[in-house]
Amino acid sequence: MANHTTPWPAIGEKALVRRLLIAVSLGFLTLFLFLPLVTVFAEALRNGAGAYIASFNDQAALAAIKLTLLVTAISLPLNLVFGLAAAWAIAKFEFRGKHLLITLIDLPFAVSPVISGLIYVLLYGMHGWLGPWLTEHDIQIIFAVPGIVLATIFVTFPFVAREVIPLMQEQGTEEEQAAMMLGAGGWQTFFRVTLPNVKWAVLYGVILCNARAMGEFGAVSVVSGHIRGKTNTMSLHVEILYNEYNFVAAFAVASLLALLALVTLALKSLIEWRSRTAQHSPFVPTSSEEESA
């Protein structure tokens, strides 16, 4: 007898196999993603909404939130510019060292964030290469906001570039050539032709970049110095609170980061959906590395 439980009896799996596969993946998701997420909010609200809100009414917590926003506000535009410039160069021109550049862009993915933080300490720290010169001119980078910004930029700079490069490469340069033949200048071509063609990829990269910039822990931890109210970002602040057994406050701040992750996911899905329905923009997001608090 033919098996009628699947629409394609010839190639489909047996119902049992399908159910087993689904059960296994759901089990994993529950255990490793869903439960922790619920825990974050449950712990944060353990002592009621009052205690939850009170956790944010704290100088150090507010300072951490502000710092996180500041760091993100600086690194995001820089990444956007860098990502577009690198993607443009790689996709539209032939030059020496192109492959090296592509490899370098992936470096932050390959290196542990702690190492990248350490590199900055070795470079700009008191006893680092540039340390004496910086001290002489009274510039502090490590254990201060500039160091955190630098570390964040380093960790996040592949995001935009990695999303845009494959799309630009696939689209080629013919539309730009057409624009030029029609009398458009370089900037006109960029803003009227190139950028609109990759806008979904850019937005997607920016959102991922944003999530990572806000959630980054390792690299920032090394360069920050953990000065309460001064050089603590949100994720660092969570760690301090947790180490002080201040669980409600720790999870309250963590819940903000978790919320950010959820918003990021929602935006990401929205963009994927939009770019799929926008017939003129065949952008397929590349698989991406994400880190939530």
């Binding site: 013919e174 539309e175 050539q177 057409a178 624009a179 030029m180 033949m181 029609l182 009398g183 458009a184 200048g185 006109q188 009227r192 032709v193 609109p196 063609n197 017939q279 003129h280 923009s281």
Partner: protein, 354 residues
């Protein structure tokens, strides 16, 4: 505006894409660059447009007797139509056509009203006014190509360059667009150059055909000239089917198979070994000898579906050849596979064996 190509050479690495090419396109003419892939025709077109640079010091491109070496692409006022259309995918048909007008410097930019008028006029010209609001992905290939043409025409180019404009279209649409392009050119009279590898397209559309092979110009002439008077073996081969024979020139006559045919006046310089070409429609078939000199052959296969009947033959010297005869003639002769026939060339072309 006339185009003059002088001694242009172009290398891609070690590959010589163009080898000392000379060409002139008179004002208002429609010229086809015809050749197989890799013959350099597209490279030549792109160099004329300014999208590609000729080798340094290799020659010059002149528009209206003026060297354009230092004129940037965007100031050359050349309309370029790409093989794969290169329409702006995020713009509607209307916006695509309006692009060239909208990017003009403020001083020379027409106002919104005038732009809209121009665009609609052009879309009417290419018969797409109904589709002004569509995106390129919602159009068929033929429609896209017509949008691309309208877009190129919007900036009132001094010349139109088309890179395999119908190459990506299916046979029927191709034929329609071909004659449409011809009519459009008659109407607009803008100097045009188009690249094609399809000899029918070139023969039907162009005023003048430039046959290219391996980066060189083989022959330049009207469709009649290149078809009926090919200067080289390559042109003979490329512009239609041929039957080739080895022959020998002796005292003003060329001998091949069992035939001896006097050479034409302009072929008198050939001596010794030669190659003889006969187009299939110049091979006549008879079932009787009639006492005239002829090559004996046997019918191998008959393809009668088509305006002409293609008959595959095998001569007594074991050479294959093709003949094309009319349907009526085919019926009167009652040809069958294995029928014995006598063939005679109506017209031959002889080239020195190289």
């Amino acid at each position: 505006m006339s185009i003059e190509v002088r001694n242009i050479t172009k290398h891609f690495g070690d590959f010589r894409a163009l080898d000392d090419v000379n060409l002139s396109v008179p004002t208002g003419k429609l010229v086809a660059l015809l050749g197989p892939s890799g013959s350099g025709k597209t490279t030549l077109l792109r160099i004329i447009a300014g999208l590609e640079q000729a080798d340094s010091g290799s020659g010059s491109i002149l528009f209206h007797e003026e060297d354009v070496a230092n004129t940037h692409v965007r100031h050359r006022r050349v309309g370029f139509v790409f093989q794969h259309y290169a329409l702006f995918r995020h713009m509607t048909v209307f916006e695509n056509v309006a692009f060239g007008l909208r990017v003009r410097p403020r001083k020379s930019r027409p106002n919104r009203r005038d732009i809209a008028d121009t665009v609609h006029e052009l879309l009417r010209l290419v018969q797409l006014d109904m589709l002004a609001g569509r995106y390129p992905s919602q159009l068929s290939g033929g429609q896209r190509q017509r949008v691309a043409l309208a877009r190129a025409l919007a900036v009132e180019p001094k010349m139109l360059l088309l890179d395999e404009p119908f190459g990506a279209l299916d046979a029927k649409v191709r034929k329609e667009l071909r004659s449409w392009l011809r009519r459009l050119h008659d109407e607009l009279n803008v100097t045009s150059v188009f690249v094609t590898h399809d000899q029918d397209e070139a023969l039907e559309v162009a005023n003048q055909i430039v046959v290219m092979n391996r980066g060189r110009v083989e022959q330049i002439g009207t469709p009649d000239e290149v078809f009926h008077h090919p200067q080289t073996e390559f042109v003979m081969h490329f512009l239609g089917d041929v039957n080739a024979f080895h022959g020998r020139v002796i005292q003003g006559n060329v001998q091949f198979g069992s035939l001896k045919v006097p050479l034409l006046e302009n072929r008198q310089q050939i001596v010794g070994d030669a190659r003889v070409f006969i187009r299939p429609h110049d091979v006549t078939i008879d079932t009787k000898t009639n006492g005239l000199p002829a090559i004996e052959a046997r019918v191998v296969r008959v393809h009668s579906a088509g305006p002409l009947v293609r008959v595959e033959l095998l001569t007594s010297a074991n050479q294959r050849l093709i003949s094309e005869i009319s349907q009526e003639r085919f019926v009167t002769m009652n040809l069958q596979p294995d029928s014995k026939v006598y063939i005679r060339p109506r017209h031959i072309r002889v080239f020195a064996d190289s």
